[in-house]
């Protein structure tokens, strides 16, 4: 049926033949099997900040970048040299036939739409955290990734590699300790400065922003996309966008998945969600994100995740169970902990290189399903903060319980033609 073609020949042919949209998954080559020496290609959408870090990821070859800010685009194009094309509109980039993986490093209000559109264009997706700005977008990403058979990964990694902030070790020994049951159950995890985590409260928004002229290099319309149109002010964009509900979730949105996803992993809660979120915070502004003192998530079985932004509990253990505790730096109340950990089997294997996921079509360690769950923990908190009240949640139906207004924040209307 399909003859063996050299990749370049095939591309030349297809470009000559097709005028309209032609999306060719690269696995069409040979007998549907990609030789290990074949290098995967990637494109990055959003190269103003975090996106630049993606350039070097996993040795995949960069072929295209996109940004709504011409200066950001030019900057990076100068750095990466020839062979990379720049785009101002990501929809054009998605038409390319030679992109295997799309990296999404825009502000969070774009993550959902771009993940879905990239998957519908036949690409695999590597998306920055938080996975989506709303719970509803997260549900839709899961639906589309499944239907289109694409691979998805989030850009956080502490559940499978690197020393985990205040813990001082990787998460693996912690996972083993917890799976062994030696701490008892249920467990309470406290994430605060005391246990070694910084909530970055400098990501607050400003009120009373004066409208400023839109800089000529910025396509503000495209930058906003689905977000409500509010007068341009530089503080709403480029880094400080993190301080506005329209685009992100402050320090909680920025660091939430880094800090919370590994907790979800080692508590074994990748397929469920907390049933309650309680907040202790000053009244929030309707547009600019402020600080908070404490957010407490409780699961059905009594496990809790406590975000202690005020560092109120000066003696907090990182993990506390009925039979033992683990403190910052992996200090513990359990004697001979290291030997005990060594004797236990390692946790279930995970794929920790995205290119392996892409080639074998097996789910990555942190994918759209478990990533959705940890993003939901963050987003439940965001909804509770914005409404100013505690909420209950149904982990099966993925909705809030007895609170219509909270459920209205699950699927938030998008501006103009944008939809997910």
């Amino acid at each position: 049926m399909t003859e063996r073609h050299n990749r370049r020949d095939f591309l030349k042919k297809s470009l000559a033949v097709t005028a309209g949209i032609s999306i060719v998954p690269r696995f069409v080559l040979g007998r549907g099997y990609m030789a290990p020496s074949d290098q995967l290609t990637k494109a990055i959408i959003g190269v103003g900040g975090m996106g630049q870090g993606h350039i070097g990821y996993e040795g995949t070859r960069l072929v295209a970048i996109c940004d709504a800010d011409k200066k950001h685009l030019e900057n990076v194009l100068n750095r990466v040299g020839s062979g990379v094309q720049g785009y101002a509109d990501f929809r054009e980039l998605l038409l390319r036939t030679d992109v295997d993986i799309v990296h999404i490093a825009t502000p969070p209000h774009w993550h959902g739409i771009m993940s879905v559109m990239a998957a519908q264009a036949g690409k695999d997706v590597w998306c920055e955290k938080p996975m989506t700005r709303t719970i509803g977008e997260g549900k839709r990403v899961m639906e589309v990734i499944s239907a289109t058979g694409r691979m998805f990964r989030l850009n956080t990694w502490f559940r499978f590699k690197d020393n985990f902030y205040g813990l001082g070790t990787t998460v693996k020994p912690l996972k083993k300790v917890i799976e062994s049951g030696v701490l008892g159950w249920p467990l309470k995890v406290t994430i605060s400065g005391v246990t070694g985590f910084d909530w970055k409260f400098y990501w607050v928004g400003k009120t009373g922003l004066k409208p400023q002229p839109v800089p000529p290099e910025l396509d503000y319309e495209m930058w906003l996309g689905p977000a409500p149109k509010k007068p341009y002010n530089v503080h709403r964009t480029h880094g400080t966008f993190r301080g506005y509900w329209d685009y992100d979730g402050g320090g909680l949105g920025d660091m939430g998945q880094h800090y919370i996803d590994p907790v979800q992993y080692f508590l074994g809660k990748d397929n469920t969600s907390p049933v309650k979120v309680e907040i202790d915070a000053p009244q929030q502004h309707y547009d600019a994100i402020g600080t908070w003192r404490k957010i407490t998530y409780t699961y059905d079985d009594g496990c809790q995740i406590v975000l202690d932004g005020a560092n109120a509990d000066k003696d907090a253990a990182y993990i506390e169970g009925p039979k033992g505790k683990i403190y910052k730096g992996f200090r513990s109340t359990i004697p001979n902990l290291q030997q005990f950990i060594d004797s236990l089997p390692d946790p279930a294997p995970q794929i920790t290189l995205f290119s392996e996921s892409v080639k074998t079509r097996q789910k990555f360690a942190l994918n759209e399903v478990n990533g959705f769950r940890s993003a939901t923990i963050v987003n439940m908190g965001v909804v509770a903060l914005r409404l100013g009240r505690n909420l209950e949640f149904d982990p099966e139906k993925l909705e809030f319980v007895n609170d219509e207004e909270a459920n209205k924040l699950i699927n938030q209307p998008m501006r103009g033609e944008w939809k997910i």
Binding site: M1, G20, I21, V24, P25, F27, V28, G32, M34, A119, Q120, A121, G122, A147, T148, G149, R150, V194, T195, K200, Y202, T207, G208, L209, P228, K229, D280, A281, P282, Q283, Q284, H285, Y286, D287, N311, K314, P335, Q338, Q339, D342, S343, L344, P345, D346, A348, P349, T360, R361, L387, G388, R389, D403, E404, E405, K408, P413, R415, G416, E417, K419
Partner: protein, 923 residues
């Protein structure tokens, strides 16, 4: 609940009648007082403020809404907090009675608004509490600048009535069409079908999912040739099919899915096929299997996996069919089948796929089977027997990658005990197997395999040998110490020597069951063993170890001295600091490492902060290079005291060292969560100001923010609780000691002391309206103090006052007010800050911007009252003169001429601070 009832009662009352005599504030004042408390400190406070909102009634809420100005102005910040608060509260469960009045007030405000941003704001806030009235009103806003907000709010409200409004306004606007689809509004179908097919119409009709749209879709997908197009026709068609099935029309949904399978055949639309298959799977369940068995023949790996992902849901009942396929599949497909079905259950998977594949002739299939076995065996019952069989009986078949796969699986499956079941007779394994077993023994720290490891260190096979040495380290226990020392004696290769040394070190640093120090100390003098055993000395608990190393450093051979110098660097006890100091100064090859060890040991809990500082100063004076000094400065960050700060700040002006000095200064001065609350005082503030300039590098902008926030919070707030020399000499005395309110009586809930300052902060269990008065009474005096306001703050100084009653009338009140705030734009002159309330107006213009500290003096001598603010006299009056024709506010002030009384702060529900409070009595 309680609040709701209170609200409805008060609300009804407030429409006509004013409330009890206790609250005769005007509506303006009530609003100002309310707004002054925003943003609320907590959600509990928000709820308690609802009482205040309710007592204002719809008229009051309307007045607050009227304060909203374009957001860039910024002066309506508190009013916006109020409106947002109301909208969200009104939408909360159980607050139904609250909703209509709030909605009504917001709609009225919207109608009055003329500015686009203000309208946008109200429309979006109505999303939280809007009902039928909002839906009706918003119809008029579905065009022009308000269109987006109106559409957004109507979509959020999402009732049929809302959808009807949108439909009525729809001609062909893409965003309206989109909204109708999102609301799944069936009555819109006819309109949509009348429009030319577009991305939006197709998507909306897909969401609505009605059979009537079928022809419309068929036309569009035919025009697209069943391929991707600008209208996303096929994608929408599949979405349409999904929706049809969900709405009960599975027959049609399936028909469409099958049509897609028939037409979407080219290699670039395989993800459409995946979606169609998934749809069919949802309706047909396992009956789809024959189709899946056909589809699996595709050349495309991603597509095959999506087929398998669907098939997986119907295992184990369908496993027979897939197993038949298995035997006839290519190796690649076999690996895919194994990885898919491996994690399902049912004997068929094991019998027909996994077990036979473990001995397949194809390595990738074998390895897929090994991994699948692990996923299949959820209770860890069969993995070890199967893999053991491979390792012992099928050695001729296995290659490197097999051993890798087996090792990975065993790491996930075995404990230190069950590892022994893998190969009860390790010698039955070949070299690859032995090396693997030894690596696992190390990973699982299995003591029972120590003997095997020990015997394997003399293996001829390099891998086995290396794995054996590594295994020794983790499998050895205290009773193996003598055997290890013997092995060490015999070892000649450097890597083997160091491996054995590390093994012994692990034993001596174990949490318990530590070998006797004598085992080492008794042998260390033997020739040939000294240099080899010296590295263990730092880890022995015996005090003799330090004497031994000191003696070797002095009297040993060069080789031994060298080993001792290196070992000293690993010492665990700070008792060797002076030895390390000498070694650092000696400039020998161990000098640099000695510095590192010295600084590391300073972190020891057993040393006091002062001792650490002395040691740091000592080594700093011996330090020669910038790099070394920098390391010392970094270590100084742990001395979290003022002297530590002073030590590092000496280097802030040194261009080479200012960066490490600055970072350490920051770490010392700022709070360390769980350890210290940070340093305070003017000197600290001054140093931090310099530090802020010197901080550089990545993230420095954030550190600067943190430092400035700390300076603002503490550095300048630390009120001095001492009198200046001049004031002390002049006869002043402190009224506030900087620590507590012992000389004061009254409301110590609203008024508290924090960091040397009196903080006024109404709490949820007080009304914020009580006073704090001096315990003593004063007649004629000079009263001096400093105050810091928050926006719209309202308080007052009562003088010559009784302990109870309203001091403005039962005595005198010297007003404290943020009168620049817009909320006070209509107050009377005698209500202005510094005024003798109701009697004598104060001059304007002496107040510093809100948030800064002001200093004020009130001089009361007989009937003469003089108020000085920030050095400017703003009131200088004689009470008799001022009231000869009656009082300015035409009210009775019976206490105006009290000869004496208490001095106090008169709470009015605001947040502010006082400090530096002193008084001089006049005779």
């Amino acid at each position: 609940m309680k609040i709701k009832y209170i609200f409805t009662c008060l609300f009804a009352l407030s429409l006509t009648v004013s409330l009890s005599a206790q609250d005769n504030r005007t509506v303006e004042t009530k609003i100002a007082d309310l707004l002054a408390q925003l943003p609320a400190r907590s959600n509990e406070q928000v709820a308690s403020l609802i009482n205040q909102y309710s007592s204002l009634g719809e008229d009051g809420i309307a007045r607050i809404a009227a304060l909203i100005v374009p957001s860039s102005d910024g002066s309506d910040l508190q009013a916006r907090y109020a409106i947002s608060s109301l909208a969200r509260y009104a939408g909360a469960p159980g607050n139904g009675d609250f909703r209509a009045p709030v909605e009504s007030a917001l709609l009225a405000a919207l109608a009055k608004a003329s500015n686009a941003e203000v309208k946008d704001y109200f429309i979006r806030e109505l999303a939280f509490c809007g009902g039928d009235a909002t839906v009706t009103a918003l119809g008029a806003y579905l065009n022009g600048a308000t269109s987006d907000a109106a559409l957004s709010t109507l979509t959020t409200i999402g009732t049929d009535a809302a959808a009807r409004q949108i439909l009525a306004a729809t001609t062909d606007q893409p965003d309206f069409i989109k909204a109708l689809g999102e609301l799944k509004y069936k009555p819109a179908e006819e309109k949509l079908l009348s429009l030319q097919p577009s991305k939006q119409t197709l998507s909306a009709l897909a969401s609505i999912g009605s059979a009537k749209s079928l022809k419309y879709f068929q036309g569009a997908v035919k025009a697209a040739g069943y391929r991707p197009d600008a209208n996303n026709a096929v994608l929408s068609y599949l979405q349409y099919a999904t929706e049809l099935s969900r709405n009960g029309n599975q027959k049609l949904g399936d028909k469409i899915a099958k049509e897609a399978l028939k037409n979407c055949t080219s290699s670039d639309v395989l993800h459409y096929r995946s979606e169609a298959l998934e749809l069919l799977g949802q309706t047909q369940g396992f009956k789809l299997t024959p189709t899946l068995l056909k589809e699996i023949k595709s050349d495309d790996k991603a597509y095959r996996q999506s087929v398998l992902n669907i098939a997986k849901e119907y295992a184990p009942s369908t496993i027979g069919k897939w197993s038949s396929l298995f035997g006839k599949s290519t190796p690649e497909l076999q690996t895919e089948l194994l990885s898919t079905f491996g994690s399902t259950s049912g004997a068929g998977v094991l019998q027909y796929m996994i077990a036979p594949s473990l001995t397949s002739g194809d390595a990738s299939v074998r390895q897929a089977a090994i991994t699948a076995l692990s996923a299949y065996d959820k209770n860890n019952e069969i993995t070890i027997p199967y893999l053991s069989n491979l390792l012992i009986n099928k050695q001729d078949l296995l290659v490197d990658s097999d051993y890798k796969a087996i090792e990975q699986v065993l790491l996930n499956k075995v404990t230190d005990k069950t590892l022994l079941e893998v190969a009860p007779e390790p010698l039955e394994l070949n070299n690859d197997g032995r090396a693997m077993l030894l690596r696992l023994a190390a990973a699982r720290a299995t003591p029972a395999l120590f003997k095997f490891a020990q015997s394997s260190i003399s293996s001829q096979n390099a891998d086995v040998k290396a794995a054996a040495f590594a295994a020794l380290a983790k499998t050895a226990r205290a009773d193996n110490t003598a055997a290890l020392i013997t092995a060490l004696e015999k070892a000649s290769k450097p890597e083997e020597i160091s491996s054995l040394q590390n093994t012994l070190i692990n034993l001596y640093t174990a949490a318990d069951n530590v070998p006797a120090s004598s085992l080492v100390l008794d042998k260390i003098d033997a020739k040939g063993l000294t240099a080899k055993l010296v590295p263990l000395l730092p880890y022995l608990k015996s005090g003799d170890a330090q004497a031994k190393i000191a003696s070797i450093l002095q009297k040993g051979t060069n080789e031994e001295k060298d080993a001792a110098a290196k070992a000293l660097v690993n010492w665990q006890n700070p008792s060797v600091l002076s030895l390390l100091y000498n070694q650092y100064r000696s400039g020998s090859s161990s000098a640099e490492a000695s510095l590192g060890a010295y600084l590391r040991l300073l972190g020891s809990q057993s040393l006091t902060s002062d001792t650490k500082l002395i040691q740091l100063e000592q080594i700093m004076s011996a330090a020669k290079t910038t790099a070394d000094k920098s390391k010392i400065l970094q270590a100084a960050a742990q001395v979290k005291s003022l002297s530590g700060l002073l030590f590092v700040s000496k280097f802030l002006d040194d261009s080479d060292l200012s960066t490490p000095a600055a970072f350490s200064a920051m770490k010392i001065a700022l709070p360390t969560p769980g350890e210290s609350d940070g340093l305070k005082g003017d000197e600290v503030k001054s140093i931090l100001t310099t530090v802020k300039e010197k901080i550089s590098g990545e993230d420095s902008q954030y550190y600067k923010i943190d430092i400035q926030q700390y300076i603002d919070k503490v550095g300048s707030d630390a009120g001095t609780a001492t009198l200046s020399k001049a004031e002390a000499a002049d006869g002043f005395e402190l009224l506030f000691n900087g620590k507590d309110l012992d000389n004061w009586v009254g409301n110590k809930v609203t008024y508290t002391v924090e960091d040397g300052v009196i903080v006024v902060a109404p709490k949820k269990n007080d009304s914020g309206y009580g006073n704090l008065m001096t315990a003593k009474e004063y007649a004629n005096f000079v009263f001096r103090f400093e105050f810091q306001l928050t926006p719209a703050a309202n308080n007052g100084i009562g003088i010559r006052a009784p302990l109870n009653g309203d001091a403005a009338y039962s005595a005198m009140e010297i007003q404290i007010l943020d009168c620049e705030h817009p909320v006070y734009k209509d107050i009377k002159p005698y209500q202005h800050h510094g005024s003798i309330y109701g009697i004598v107006p104060a001059k304007h213009g002496a107040m510093k911007p809100v948030g800064e500290w002001n200093s004020e003096e009130i001089r009361a001598e007989g009937t003469r009252i003089k108020v000085t603010l920030n050095g400017k006299v703003i009131v200088d009056a004689d009470l008799k003169e001022a009231t000869k024709n009656g009082t300015a506010d035409h009210n009775n002030h019976p206490g105006l001429f009290n000869p004496s009384g208490h001095i106090g702060f008169l709470g009015h529900g605001s947040n502010l601070k006082f400090r530096n409070i002193r008084i001089k009595e006049l005779k």
